[in-house]
């Protein structure tokens, strides 16, 4: 008898858990599309993306959603549409290069309604299967729980790569930041820690090393990193960074550098060489071209009226900080850099350009542009812009005034902040940070960019519970795509952090 009761209970539980949704036979047709979160209406997704779970935001008692393409369909019941992962992947494979039709039916007071169907366009271009990012509250100075996570984009699996709490005590903690990979390779990564256990951890093909890059002749240890695509070199900016807070402006916070330079670090030799150290220039955000022969970076001209560096002065004159994009030739055999040359004069548009990133085919230069400053995640006006480098540097180049050929990536931009971005290894996808929903919390969005630089409507990173991103009081910071997962555990990373850093040698 007990066995029967148990079996009955299990059966009831299974039936309630897997309620078979049915598309209603009769309904009232509505002319408009449904209001859903995240907004996946008309987006283009890679063929290998995880299910685009969403939540219906209209007042309804029940809902049924039908995803269909090429004779296949998935029907989900409930106000949150969460297709089975395997069924979803079968559907996206069938719809590759085509589109998935999504019909949403909602029931209110016994009456079913059908919204106008919408489409999800499935690109045959796949995306790298992993995304890493730092989870951080959009805080100002304080930090506590900081993690660098990795998320499988083909499912909802999320793991921790680094957790600063593993090294933190009540006496002190550290800020972990600036994770970066060589050529999307998860076994070649680096990240920094500041304050207690400070240093740079470099993992390279199984070897994990902590480096202490501090040197009296440098402004700071390495900050914003850029792995050389082929060599064991990492370019960094060195920065004297400070923060100030607006009393009324909705941007709320400004992160400024009173000084900054560029260095390059040789991973094998533990040697640092200065690349750029001009007194009236603030150099930042290095980025290698895919062939490794050019180092792009941003630089703002700023001359102090005071005799020396004055944090108060630069804070007062912060809106004068206009960063342009430059580049320097690099000879991989001699490891010598050439002179800087101007790539994009943002100041000529009375703007400031940051985070230059070049597509793997070398053609497109994507960057962030805001009215001023270098920390655009806190600027509501910041947008993504695109330059066709082939126009200037390709065969038959006819335009050297690149300001004219730069265009805002309107297809991806919103009324709010767009900032940090990185390309996929096949160059067809870009992941970028956006605060478009509420202006406060950063979420990663993905946009498809074709051969001609045309972009599609971006989509937000899918969550298993589609409401998660509206509840989570943390931002996704520095989204970087990877070809696979980092296999080192957070404990191994913590052990590396707790070690003394290998001192580096500064070459004159």
């Amino acid at each position: 008898m007990k066995l029967r009761q148990t079996l009955f209970l299990i059966a009831v539980l299974m039936m309630t858990a897997c309620r078979q949704a049915q598309v209603p036979a009769s309904y009232k047709q509505l002319p408009k599309e449904p209001l859903i979160y995240p907004d996946y209406i008309g987006v283009t997704v890679p063929v290998n993306i995880a299910p685009l779970n969403f939540e219906l935001l209209v007042a309804a008692d029940d809902a049924v959603v039908r995803f269909s393409a090429e004779g296949q369909e998935i029907v989900c019941g409930g106000l949150k549409a969460r297709p089975d992962i395997e069924e979803w992947h079968a559907l996206t494979q069938a719809a590759s290069g085509k589109r998935i039709s999504v019909e949403v039916y909602a029931e209110k007071d016994g009456q079913w309604m059908r919204f106008a169907p919408y489409y999800i366009y499935v690109s045959p271009d796949s995306i790298d299967p992993y995304l890493s990012y730092r989870m951080i509250s959009p805080s100002y100075v304080s930090y506590e729980e900081l993690t660098i996570n990795q998320r499988c984009l083909e499912s909802f699996d999320e793991q921790i790569i680094v957790d600063n709490m593993l090294c933190s005590t009540e006496a002190g903690g550290q800020c972990v930041n600036c994770h970066n990979y060589q050529q999307w390779n998860p076994s070649r990564m680096q990240f920094h820690a500041r304050q207690t256990h400070g240093g740079t951890v470099i993992a390279y093909d199984g070897k994990v090393e902590k480096v202490d890059m501090r040197n009296e002749a440098l402004l700071s240890a390495g900050v914003y990193p850029a792995w050389h695509p082929q060599q064991k070199l990492i370019a960094y900016s060195t920065n004297k960074t400070m923060q100030s807070f607006h009393t009324a402006d909705l941007n709320k916070i400004e992160v400024l550098d009173s000084e900054s330079d560029l260095i390059v670090y040789d991973v094998d030799r533990h040697e640092v060489t200065t690349i750029e150290q001009r007194p009236d220039e603030l150099e930042i955000f290095p980025c290698w071209s895919p062939d490794g022969r050019w180092l792009y970076f941003c630089s703002a001209h700023f001359k102090y009226q005071a005799d020396s560096v004055d944090a108060a002065e630069i804070t007062l004159r912060a809106k004068e900080l206009k960063y342009n994009i430059y580049r320097k030739a690099f000879d991989p055999s001699s490891r010598q850099f050439g002179e800087r040359e101007l790539v994009f004069a943002a100041d000529s548009l009375n703007m400031s350009a940051t985070f230059p990133r070049i597509s793997p085919d070398g053609r497109w230069l994507l960057f962030t542009m805001g009215e001023w400053g270098c920390f655009h995640i806190w600027h509501h006006d910041a947008d993504l812009w695109l330059i066709d480098l082939a126009e200037a540097y390709g065969s038959g180049a006819k335009n050297t005034s690149l300001s004219l050929s730069a265009r805002p990536l309107e297809e991806a931009n919103s009324d709010d902040t767009e900032s940090y971005h990185s390309w996929s290894s096949n160059g067809r996808w870009v992941v970028f940070s956006s605060r478009r929903y509420d202006g406060v919390f950063t979420r990663p969005f993905f946009v498809h960019i074709d051969n001609e630089g045309r972009a599609t409507k971006p989509f937000e990173l899918p969550s298993h519970n589609p409401d998660n991103h509206r509840q989570l009081l943390k931002s996704y910071n520095v989204p970087e795509l990877m070809r696979g997962p980092v296999i080192l555990t957070p404990q191994q990373m913590a052990d590396a952090l707790k070690r003394e850093g290998v001192p580096v040698k500064l070459l004159k």
Partner: protein
């Protein structure tokens, strides 16, 4: 009937708590957050002891009505007394008030830690954790001695209990190791149970550290779910005294007392009363600050002044700032501002208490410096955890700034609470309808103080000086701004020498 008398002790203690520490309890729930969401549960479970802190947060919200929360505590303490008697086969129930008094002291000794503790649900954690630990020992005792069933329970308690209840499960397992020698059993079984207990107490947290959790430093894995009384590297061991008494008093219950009868009762009453009188945090300024803060939340400005006026000694800056705010709100900016006590007494805490971490966020809001209110809510939310107070203030800032989607986010979270959902719904009705702000008793008076001129600056945690500087930097455009500026100038001229926080 006499058997019931000891149960009057928790009742009496709960009543004392609710009557004398009503503002502390109310503040505790304002500095707490419990959301009815799977995400909130998941966020608690990322640390060992996650279920305990989740339960602690759940129960702390009942302090919204201090008497209700104290009533819940009373029931739990009574249950603990009953459980102690059953578990340790106590002949005299009068031993059990000592742990209960210790549990009360874990609350009443906190003082300013109510703003700085990073342990979620701290006011209930010790009570629930102790019940769990004793319950585990009770189950161990009830299990049959055959087939190493008890040994298996030791292992299970450590393996399952530690992730859910942290330190308290380990304590329960440790008590099982002692209990093994008090129960009828073979020497071999006793040794096996004790050795297993020891091995699993040491081993389970280590295994969890390496395989499950990534939020706890290895040096803290044995103390999870206990509060950390540490500030900027300095530990304050005196705050652990109630915990030491708690653990010692319960662990010793396994051993027979050398005396019994009335001696025990008198001794227990004397010990409890002595502990309570000695360790209870009774600082007058602290209690007045909490009372004034609560009155401001209730828009009872006269009560703020009444509380400030009755101060027994030198007031703290926070009290003076709240008092000035009340004077301004009640249009008593003239001579009356000099009739209230003024002072610079440091908060009675062994660590530096900054206004920005306590009442400063509210003060920034009330003076219309929304970005700085928001900033400190965010800073403290990151460092000390999200709380009802911070979410409410951030929702208000976002509303007044016209950042309605952000406001909706904070209001949505508050709608998932038990006692603040109606507040959230009230303000949700104002989204995209700024015309309604003027009629709101909390938002309306702030509107004329809002300024559009912007400075890129920092307060360096010197809130009062920063506010004065901000208010005096320009007389402002509205009548209220000009009045505030004049009021501030008079006050500043009189008190400028004593305004900096140490």
């Amino acid at each position: 009937m006499r058997r019931v008398y000891p149960y009057l002790v928790p009742l009496l203690l709960a009543v004392i708590l609710a009557v004398f520490e009503s503002d502390v309890l109310w503040t505790a729930q304002e500095q707490n957050l419990f959301l009815r969401t799977p995400l909130f549960f998941e966020q608690q479970m990322v640390k060992a002891g996650g279920l305990l802190t989740w339960m602690g947060c759940f129960l702390t919200q009942f302090f919204y009505y201090p008497m209700l929360g104290a009533g819940v505590l009373c029931l739990l303490w009574a249950f603990l007394m009953w459980l102690l008697r059953r578990t340790f086969q106590l002949e005299d129930l009068w031993l059990t008030p000592i742990p209960v008094a210790s549990l009360l002291l874990t609350i009443t000794t906190l003082g300013y830690w109510v703003y700085y503790l990073k342990l979620p649900g701290a006011l209930f954690d010790a009570t629930i954790g102790t019940i769990i630990a004793v319950l585990l020992v009770g189950c161990y005792r009830l299990l049959p001695a055959r087939f190493y069933v008890r040994s298996a329970f030791v292992v299970l308690s450590a393996c399952i209990g530690y992730p859910l209840f942290g330190f308290y499960a380990l304590w329960g397992v440790a008590m099982m190791a002692l209990m093994a020698w008090r129960l009828k059993s073979t020497p071999l079984v006793r040794v096996v149970d004790s050795v297993l207990a020891l091995l699993f107490i040491i081993g389970v947290p280590l295994v969890c550290y390496h395989t499950v959790y990534h939020q706890t430093n290895i040096v803290n894995i044995y103390w999870t779910a206990l509060p950390v009384f540490s500030f900027q590297g300095t530990r304050f061991f005196s705050y652990y005294v109630p915990y030491i008494i708690l653990v010692a008093s319960i662990s010793l219950m396994m051993f027979p007392l050398p005396f019994r009868g009335k001696v025990v009762r008198y001794a227990v009453v004397a010990v409890c009363a002595g502990f309570l009188a000695l360790l209870w945090y009774k600082d007058d300024n602290f209690h007045r600050e909490l009372s004034m803060r609560r009155s401001i939340e209730q828009q009872d400005w006269n009560r703020v002044l009444k509380t400030a006026g009755a101060v027994k000694g030198e007031p703290t800056r926070a009290m003076c700032m709240m008092q000035n705010l009340a004077l301004f709100r009640l249009n008593k900016r003239g001579d009356e501002m000099f009739m209230y006590p003024n002072g610079v007494k440091r908060p009675n805490a062994p660590f530096p208490v900054r206004t920005v971490h306590t009442y400063g966020k509210m003060l920034y809001m009330e003076y219309g410096v929304l970005n700085y209110c928001y900033r400190w809510c965010m800073e403290d939310g990151v460092e000390y955890g999200w709380t009802i107070e911070r979410l409410k203030l951030m929702a208000k800032c976002s509303l007044l700034n016209g950042e309605y989607v952000a406001a909706q986010r904070f209001l949505n979270l508050l709608k998932k609470t038990s006692f603040h959902a109606s507040w959230a719904k009230e303000y949700e009705a104002m989204l995209y309808r700024p015309a309604l702000f003027a009629n709101d008793p909390a938002l309306g008076p702030i509107l004329p103080l809002l300024r559009s001129d912007n400075f890129l600056t920092a307060d360096q945690s010197q809130e009062e000086l920063f506010l004065i500087e901000q208010i005096l930097s320009s007389p402002g455009a509205t009548r209220e701004q000009q009045e505030l500026s004049q009021f501030t100038m008079r006050y500043y001229r009189r008190n400028r020498h004593q305004l900096a926080e140490p």
